[in-house]
């Protein structure tokens, strides 16, 4: 009976993952990264050629040939890893989550394989700042603006005993009127455009909007469809982007905390 269920549950060992293990982890998203020193122009061409969403592309600036990687478009299909002859691998960390759209870009010099940095951030200070954020309450309203439900599956997993989002004071609420943050998935389907606008308007200010998944960041694989209006930021203002197809629970958590961090810095300015 039901008390036996409770007993069975209590008897099982805790599955809870510590924050240190989750923050910044992007294992199993199959987002690629370049293996320093292994990249050359030929392999970069091969990898870019198989990318179905143009997340990987080649460019040339000041005579320097570059491989550009836009995580906002990447669906983690793994084809570049297969085609890249060891020059690319699945990233375990280092995929930016909860950042501006521009910060989802990474860039490598294809002649020597070295990364061309856009932005530097010290991981130590991030960890310190995250700890200072934990314990603050945050109410999230999740909005599906047309996703395939892959992102919903991973957002739902955040409330499982492995991640237990509530331990950080983060709750999913039933109404946009109770929300501090909208977590929005999907390319915006035309039939959802008005509902998304209205949900945004119904959320009291100050409010945060996070675009989730390749579709939310860039329209993803649905980019260009007659039935899709585009990425989330084509319809409502967005504070942070979490890439991935779908982003793993660890990436979602990292992104949500990073958006909070950015907002906290801004509110002190």
């Amino acid at each position: 009976m039901i008390f036996d269920v409770a007993a069975q549950s209590l008897a099982s060992k805790s599955a809870l993952l510590p924050i240190e293990q989750l923050f910044g982890d992007c294992t199993a998203s199959r987002m690629p990264e370049v293996v320093a020193g292994r990249l050359n122009y030929e392999l970069a061409c091969k990898a870019a050629a198989v990318c179905p969403t143009q997340a990987l592309r080649l460019s040339e600036e000041d005579g320097c040939r570059r491989l550009m990687l836009d995580y906002g478009k990447c669906t983690g299909c793994g084809r570049c890893i297969e085609a890249g002859g060891g020059a690319l691998r699945a990233a375990a960390t280092g995929v930016p989550c909860g950042v501006t759209r521009a910060a989802l870009l990474r860039c490598w010099n294809t002649d020597n394989g070295s990364e061309i940095a856009f932005d530097e951030a010290s991981p130590d200070s991030i960890a310190r700042q995250i700890r200072s954020l934990l314990g603050r309450a945050l109410n999230i309203r999740q909005v599906d603006a047309g996703s395939c439900n892959g992102c919903e599956a991973e957002i739902g997993a955040l409330t499982s005993p492995y991640y237990d989002l509530e331990r950080f004071g983060i709750h999913f609420v039933a109404s946009p009127k109770h929300a501090d943050m909208l977590l929005v998935t999907g390319p915006v389907a035309r039939n959802m455009e008005q509902a998304l606008r209205r949900t945004y308007e119904a959320t009291p200010s100050p409010k945060l909007v996070v675009a989730v998944g390749a579709c939310g960041c860039s329209g993803g694989i649905f980019h260009g469809s007659y039935a899709v209006s585009g990425a989330i930021d084509a319809v409502i203002p967005v504070d942070g982007h979490i890439p991935g197809c779908p982003p793993t629970p660890a990436m979602l958590l990292t992104g949500i905390l990073n958006v909070l961090k950015g907002k906290q810095v801004r509110s002190y300015e």
């Binding site: 269920v5 199993a28 199959r30 409330t159 649905f222 007659y226 039935a227 899709v228």
Partner: protein
């Protein structure tokens, strides 16, 4: 599965299909449109005959198409979709309102603007229920939980629901049109993004359609790996659904426990394959890469442990009187209604229709298994919960068996895809019969139709509602667990 594809484009194909549907001894699988190379409009009827054989009847349409909805109610949405997407007039349809396009749909946004009669779709009219004390309750498209968008319009007296009408297709993304023009190997990626929680079933069905079109047989090891992925996806879906049902009747401990079981399967998947949902693994011709024996052993162990823990939990839950009280006699879908709407999957099996593509039209590794297909006659939430518990155990056994008798050798065979061909394939996805029809022109997709089990089953949900209280709707809806994106595509 051999793919009997009729290439006849005469109008006779339509007449044959209509005659078979009138005779009533076949099941409607799908109706879809296409445009021929000369610009003429075609309609295709896919039927499952008495002999458990898929048959495709095709024909060009001149003028209006006679509606079969009055004889086969399951045709209602298909005919409305053809009307929306191909501008084909349907004669005698009882309710030919726009299905896919909502009232604020922009003019000209259409896969085939030249033939479209779409544009501003006009106001959608809900059935008006009148009488003393009747209220309308609109719900959605943005719902309270972490779920997909759709609209439900209830007509109630007090708590009791008299009528429910669905207004869906909020997540319509024009996926079938997006497929057109893509190179054959790229189609599987889009297929994976049609219903994310069933992404592997979609990828396998797409790939099998390609393989059937070109008459290619996947190597045995590739077939076995696909079975493992498909059954794992079913376990995840069924365990998750069971937990959500418990959550909907306020039993949060089993809900949390199943969330934990689900996550353990996802984590072992990530460790075994590099991806939590087996995305990107299935490719036309087989699997993208092999999985090493020790990883498969770890997967087998986790599956066995999860199945054991889940069986114990489910039994305790279903023996609990307060759960029985909420599940039994709630949301009954009668067998006759299920049959006339050609309902598929666990919902059909819980209403006494013993249908399962794995047994009726076996494919891949399933050809060599004698599959056990449970069914229940009650058609209520309890029956749908029981089906899911039983099928989880069957899936676990299939996985164990497939890993135990894993063939060696290649997992993929190359496909001469840069040719022209036509084919289809069906798979028993966690939600039921999923079917892809493909026409390929010199290596590029010319037409791709996706018959999704959710598109088929959604119209049945409102028929399980009358007489139930509105507070039981989340429970009944969850017991059907249909995909919005899979339906809307």
């Amino acid at each position: 599965m051999s793919a009997p594809v009729s290439s006849s484009r005469s109008s006779g194909g339509i007449a044959d299909a209509l005659a078979l549907l009138k005779a009533g001894n076949c099941r409607l699988v799908s109706i879809f449109g296409s445009i021929d190379d000369d610009g003429s409009r075609c309609v295709h009827y896919l039927l499952d005959t008495e002999k458990r054989e898929y048959r495709l009847y095709s024909g060009q349409v001149q003028g209006a198409l006679p509606s079969v909805t009055a004889i086969t109610p399951a045709a209602a949405w298909y005919e409305r979709e053809i009307h929306d997407l191909y501008g084909i007039a349907i004669e005698g349809h009882p309710n030919l309102q726009p299905l896919v396009f909502h009232e604020d749909w922009p003019e000209g946004a259409h896969p085939r603007p030249a033939i479209a009669n779409a544009g501003a779709a006009g106001e959608y009219r809900f059935l008006k229920v009148e009488g003393e004390g009747v209220c309308e309750v609109p719900v959605g498209p943005v719902h309270a939980g972490i779920i997909e968008p759709g609209h439900f319009r209830f007509s109630v007296v007090g708590d009791t629901v008299l009528h429910l009408e669905l207004h869906h297709f909020y997540t319509h993304k024009g996926t079938e049109a997006l497929m057109e023009g893509r190179q054959v190997p790229d189609g599987s990626m889009l297929a994976e993004s049609i219903s994310g929680d069933n992404c592997f079933a979609h990828a396998v069905t797409y790939c099998q359609a390609v393989e059937n079109a070109f008459g290619i047989s996947v190597p045995p090891r590739g077939r076995a790996l696909r079975l493992i992925g498909l059954e794992l996806e079913r376990m995840l879906a069924h365990i998750g659904d069971f937990g959500a049902l418990c959550g909907d009747v306020a039993f949060s401990v089993p809900a949390a426990y199943t969330a934990r079981l689900k996550e353990s399967l996802l984590r072992v998947s990530a460790d075994c394959t590099g991806t939590r949902f087996w995305r990107g693994l299935c490719r036309p011709g087989g699997m993208q890469y092999d999985l090493p024996a020790e990883k498969l052993r770890a997967l087998a162990d986790c599956v066995a442990e999860t199945a054991r823990d889940f069986a114990e939990l489910a039994q305790k839950c279903l023996e609990t009187p307060s759960i029985q009280n909420r599940f039994e006699t709630t949301g009954i879908l009668h067998r006759d209604l299920a049959r006339s709407l050609c309902v598929v999957g666990p919902v059909a099996r819980a209403s006494g229709l013993r249908l399962d593509v794995r047994r009726d039209h076996p494919y891949g590794r399933y050809r060599t298994f004698a599959l056990e297909v449970p069914s229940h006659s009650a058609g209520d939430v309890m029956a749908r919960a029981r089906i899911r518990t039983q099928e989880t155990q069957i899936s676990a056994r299939l996985i164990a068996h497939a890993i135990e008798e894993m063939p060696s050798g290649a997992v993929r065979i190359s496909i001469p895809w840069q040719a022209s061909a036509e084919g289809f394939s069906a798979v028993e996805s966690p939600r039921g019969e999923l079917l892809y029809y493909l026409r390929i022109n010199e290596g590029r997709i010319r037409r791709c139709h996706i018959k999704s089990p959710s598109f088929q089953n959604w119209p049945a949900l409102p028929l399980a509602m009358p007489g139930n209280i509105i507070a039981d709707f989340p429970l009944i809806n969850k017991s059907f667990n249909l995909s919005y994106s899979g339906c809307d595509r």
